[in-house]
């Protein structure tokens, strides 16, 4: 079978703990979709839950708050990966539970 465990760990470690232009606290908050202030709260919530609704205005508001495009790039990546990680972990736990009870 394919195995993405190490690659997933490496991706998460890189975006959260490696060098970046956004602070580690901002990247972690975006990854967790937790504890962000507006306007980032709205942008990251959309990235996580309904990315097709992200708008130019969401980015404009984030830029107006003083964030650079490179910081926004990192924050959006962290928001996207974080939600995908939560989905993946929930599904693996559900599979484990299904097999245990079989």
């Amino acid at each position: 079978m394919s195995d993405i465990k190490e690659a997933r760990n490496a991706l998460v470690a890189r975006i959260l703990e490696g060098d970046g232009l956004a602070s580690q606290a901002q990247r972690r908050a975006a990854f967790d979709n937790l504890g962000l202030d507006e306007p980032l709260r709205t942008l990251v919530e959309k990235v996580a839950k309904r990315a097709r609704d992200v708008s130019d205005q969401d980015f404009a508001a984030a830029r107006a708050s003083g964030l650079s495009d490179d910081q926004l790039f990192e924050i959006v990546v962290c928001g996207a990966v974080g939600q995908a990680v939560r989905q993946h972990d929930r599904a693996l736990a559900a599979l484990e539970a299904a097999i245990r009870k079989e």
């Binding site: 996207a80 989905q87 009870k101």
Partner: protein
Amino acid sequence: MRLAILDQGHSFGTKVMFTFIRLFSGHRVVDAVKLVMYRPDFYGGPMKPLTHEAMRGPSAWSAGDRELMAAFISQQNATEFCVKAHSAVAARAYGDRDRVSSVLADLDAAPIGEPLRATLRMLGKLTREHAVDANDMRGVLAAGASRAQIEDALAVCFAFNTTDRLADAFAFHVPGPKAFEAGAKFLLARGYR
């Protein structure tokens, strides 16, 4: 693309490579490539091997099956770029465009095996609702998918639930069908590394 840096902020060497790709392929570099080539140390570098392993690593699912999963997941997210890109790869891998379009039109009626159908149904729920439970997984196992096949499908789902979000958040430009055909040929031959 919403962030100008993703369009034009690449290193000189990468810009030269994009020029060569345009000259030799006759197509502009698509936004999915621009994304993974922008500051690749941050995202593209670690993401490309993950996607390659999920899509082309050892699995009881064929490359066509996994490309179909990618297209189906992207349809649940309403991510037009990825639906079109991975429908084209799946159709080429299967040598059967109708199988792909029938799954995207009506999963219940599509002419595919039950393990794949049940797996796609579970991936759809996971993508739309962000969670599945043990009963959902028991349904997939009962349909004949193995634990390893389910884990492999979840790897595809992880890759595309990341990529789709970025495609939509950054507003990937959706090119015409010829660009997706050229992309499909490349992705089948070379994968995602």
